[in-house]
Symmetry: C2
Subunit: 287 residues, 2 copies
């Protein structure tokens, strides 16, 4: 096994173990709410260049519809192949002559039944072209924001960042603020978090450092988000609260369908539709 | 008044009178269903180059939330100014040196309470750059399609087309089939209709012919759509029917936010958000 293949395999194994721990924790929260909801897992295979026989990798989509988690998707994908030549030029370390890539990552979106409980998004990934790098992040999307929740979410990510780079939190928080923004509404999609990309791994030392950071980002999510859910899940809500949540989800759908690079790339290049669109809210209104 | 200004004024007057007749007919349908719902009209002004004082035209957005019409928007916009130079190159008869334009048009989207009643979209417009042309069309979007409704809708448009050009219906129906398609779902957004553009008016005769066609397209809509609404509005529906409608509306939102050129152009160039997004469904689900 080459160094890079071994590194990809280690990253994948981490994403899968993080997925298992997150799903177990979310199911435990359902138990606490008196529900027996559980994740259902569906495997899908990626098609490269229209050849259904070729091995392009694939993924496992986990989906749970519960009492607390109205709809939560957790995907781990591990894919490889060749970028479309025109698209390759836009990817770090790739071009029309070097379109080969592999990618492994975890992505999660949770839409919550109770409008007091924040929705959330998180994603981390390891990409390999002629270069190799980690990227990822997470952002909190409360329909009814609480300053305490926002502060705790940012504090968890800041602690993870501060262990790995003095400027990480400031840079990656700013990046999230710029990315998770809806220009036509002139509002942010939520209360932010962190977003990072191109943490390049030219050698073993860089890979170990960036992999350790990415693991800490995952641990931070697993540490803080269930805490916020448990803090809010038993609060009573009014019809007005629910309407505010459903309107807010309309903005969320607008962001994902109009601006989100991952969603658009997936939609326009024939990715797995169910996995790509699991991020859309279970219900939304446009009044 | 120049010829072209007089022609734009006549087109505008027609769009406004069509709007008035459509709104009156839709309100009459609400009366028949025992509702006193009525359109509310909101005027908006277009901002050119960030100058709120400049006259860039504007429009009137009509919106009714009724018992039969869960949400119906009817906009008449009459705007003028300069295209962004980079965008101008993509517009018939315009370029960076000739970015001036004016446009007047009517657009309508109806989302219906009863899932047996088809939703509908229609739009006709008169554009002026260094050229002048009409465009427009309409398509039927039934969550629960009935062959009879589809046939009547197409027959109405075919009759309008056949009066003006032997190949109009075939060409404009095909154009609608190509345009109102959701590639990532591999489904059409509805059961089609017609779509036409660039019916150019280099002289008075061409203007009169194309204007007459556009008026007939509007009359065809006003003739057929209320008939379909009255045919279906009293049918009973099940929770399964309603769920099918709400899921189908998710596809409709995906089309408008990911692919519709008018929506994306409006969103990305700072148009009136409420008027642009009135097309989005009042409620949608992604299961």
């Amino acid at each position: 096994m080459t160094d890079i293949n071994e590194r990809s395999a280690r990253a994948r194994a981490w994403f899968e173990s993080l997925r298992d721990r997150i799903c177990a924790e979310f199911e435990a929260i359902e138990r606490e709410a008196g529900s027996d909801a559980a994740f259902a897992f569906t495997r899908w295979n990626r098609v490269q260049d229209g050849d259904a026989e070729a091995d392009g990798g694939g993924g496992v989509q986990g989906l749970m519809k519960g009492k607390v988690f109205e709809k939560v998707g957790v995907n781990v994908s591990t894919v490889h192949g060749s970028f479309d030549p025109a698209f390759a030029a836009s990817i770090n370390g790739a071009d029309a002559e070097n379109p080969g890539f592999s990618a492994t990552g975890i992505s999660l979106v949770a839409h919550m039944a109770n409008p007091h409980v924040p929705a959330v998004h998180m994603n981390t990934r390891f990409l390999v072209t002629s270069k190799a790098w980690f990227g990822g992040g997470g952002d909190l999307n409360p329909p009814l924001p609480y300053a305490e929740d926002t502060a705790d979410f940012h504090a968890a990510y800041q602690a993870a960042c501060d262990r790995h780079g003095a400027d990480y939190y400031e840079r990656f928080k700013k990046w999230a603020d710029e990315y998770f923004y809806i220009p036509h509404r002139k509002v942010h999609r939520g209360v932010g978090g962190i977003f990072y990309d191109h943490l390049e791994c030219p050698d073993s030392a860089a890979f170990e450092a960036n992999f350790a950071f990415t693991r800490d980002v995952g641990e931070a999510f697993l540490n803080v988000y269930p805490r916020l859910v448990r803090r809010r899940m038993d609060m009573a809500w009014t019809p007005e609260d629910k309407l505010q949540q459903l309107e807010w989800r309309g903005r969320y759908a607008e962001f994902n369908l109009v601006y989100d690079r991952g969603t658009l790339f997936g939609l326009k290049t024939g990715g797995n539709i169910d996995a790509i669109l699991m991020s859309l809210p279970p219900e939304a209104v446009w009044t």
